[in-house]
């Protein structure tokens, strides 16, 4: 899916969201290009999760317009967002622990073989495809192992493999490195690079400054529901981003 043209995968203009009297988001403009990794940073309550939920179709924006791959989109449910090619890797990964890695990758999109009127699961094809996806992500994960027995990095790989299955064009990752070990963080950042190589745009929502600076091309800082900065990563520094997050510096 790698495309060299400059049509943004996602384009937001003037997005705002109010919950009753509370203004959670105000006039947010942003663009994400294919194969670009964008870091979305901000303190708790800055509006990051509201923004993610609007893009993922959980909420409808009160104001503004959203364009995906050049055409205007309106999502009523998360399924609508998934249908155009937006996948979310949730913080808790949304995996069923009691199922195997392959079963989780194909959850809700199972491959089946028809025997007359009945359709049975095609275990072999699903395991083979899952193994292929884990190979692409260079994660040592066996399709037949239960997710409950896996490490944090492997679980991330399963959750990310799920987004590869549908050929998503934009993957949003919510705090993927929050609760895992140092070695596993390396693995996850590796996974993000794999996605980028395949031309997938990634939005990384994170609190961890080193991770954002390690993989992102651009960083967007949110504060009090507004976008305060949108800079290429090499034009900024962790110090500046921290100042923007805390409000020591108003905008950049």
């Amino acid at each position: 899916m790698a495309s060299a043209d400059a049509t943004p995968v996602l384009e937001l203009s003037g997005i705002g969201k109010e919950f009753g009297a509370i203004r959670a988001l105000h006039d947010v403009d942003m663009q994400v290009l294919p194969g670009e990794v964008v870091g979305l940073m901000g303190d708790n309550g800055a509006g990051k999760s509201t923004l993610v939920k609007i893009i993922a179709g959980n909420f409808r924006p009160t104001h503004g317009e959203m364009r995906f791959a050049g055409s205007a989109v309106h999502f009523n449910r998360p399924v609508d967002a998934r249908a155009v090619g937006i996948e979310v890797v949730y913080q808790d990964l949304a995996l069923a622990d009691n199922l195997t890695a392959a079963a989780n990758v194909f959850l809700g999109r199972e491959l089946k073989r028809r025997f007359g009127p009945i359709a049975l699961l095609d275990h072999k094809a699903m395991a083979a495809r899952a193994l292929e996806l884990f190979g692409e992500l260079r994660s040592e994960t066996r399709p037949d192992d239960l997710v409950k027995q896996m490490s944090g990095g492997q679980r991330q790989a399963v959750a990310i493999a799920r987004t590869r299955l549908s050929n998503a064009r934009l993957v949003m990752m919510d705090e993927p490195t929050a609760a895992i070990s140092v070695r596993q963080v390396e693995q996850v950042l590796g996974l993000i690079h794999r996605l980028k190589e395949q031309g997938v745009a990634v939005m990384l929502i994170s609190h961890r400054m080193p991770d954002v600076f390690a993989v992102c091309d651009r960083v967007i800082v949110m504060r009090r529901g507004e976008k305060r900065a949108d800079k290429p990563i090499h034009e900024t520094s962790p110090e500046e981003v921290t100042a923007l997050i805390t409000g020591a510096k108003e905008a950049a």
Partner: protein
Amino acid sequence: MAMPMESPITFSNVGKIRWWQRGIFASQTGYVLLALAVLLVIMHFASPYFFTQGNMQNVAKNFSFIAIATLGVTFVIITGGIDLSVGSMMCFSAMITSMVMTELSAPGSPLVHMAADGKTVLANVPGLILLISILAGLGVALIAGLVNGFCIAVLGLSPFVTTLGMLSIVRGLGYVVSNGRGSFPGGPDADYFYALTSGDVLGVPAPFIYLVILALAMAVVLHHSAFGRHVFALGGNEKAAELTGIPVVRVKIEVYVICALAAGLQGIIISGWLGSAPANMATSYELNVIAAAVIGGANLAGGIGGPLGAIVGCVLLEVIRNGLVLAQVSSYWQQTLVGVIIILAVLVDRIRSRMT
């Protein structure tokens, strides 16, 4: 990067889990099955009557009487729910079945037309009355299951409270329609009814045959269909199931309907064996059914369970009951022992999962 298609990954850090640490060998069902085998050997030495053909037929019949309902409730338990209304459902379905059968067969009934030969029209087609009455019994179970499912999945009520209510509603309706009297399967098709419910084929009790067929069907559905996969996913992580686009509401309603239908069928079979459907039939059977499912390895927290476990749980309960009778222990001990076994089975599983 070019990679060979057979194995795109090399596993240098991730070991393979040994066969004896996965699947049935690492499940509570496996341990309880082992315990059951040991118990059977002990029974063989404790009583010469245990392994006689007559006693085995008895055991097979008796555990089949709760095992079909246990299969149904296992579906619900795997999704992380519970159904307390199975006992009442058994009674109500059995009652409706025998009342409809009697009503359709009675010559004076306003519901049926008389044929020229003095019998009712329906009675002239062999088996038709039986079919209609069993469908009526299952029909009421279907409705109760739909109501359970609707309240739990759509209205978001707690499964425990909803089905506790349904336990009372259905039992109450049973008393209302029967006026508290028992009803008896009657009419020209009653003989078919008894043959189908308490008869046997080559010495194998009919309920046992139904059980085996249904258990095999359940195994296929649970492990080889998308629906079964969704049932497990729902029990493992309901939020994940919803986020991945599984039709959570539909799957939930379906499992409660399956459970109610299994209980209804079970009730109809029991009434054939009893020869009647008394209004207090199957009282508190829901506890035996849930106990059997839990002993067999279904996890009330959801995500784990299966037909083999359901059957093993039922067999274990019945062998203990049967064994206590043969050993001439007061039958009052039975209930106490069942309670101990429920706790032991869950305890062993807990210890095992702590060790690995």
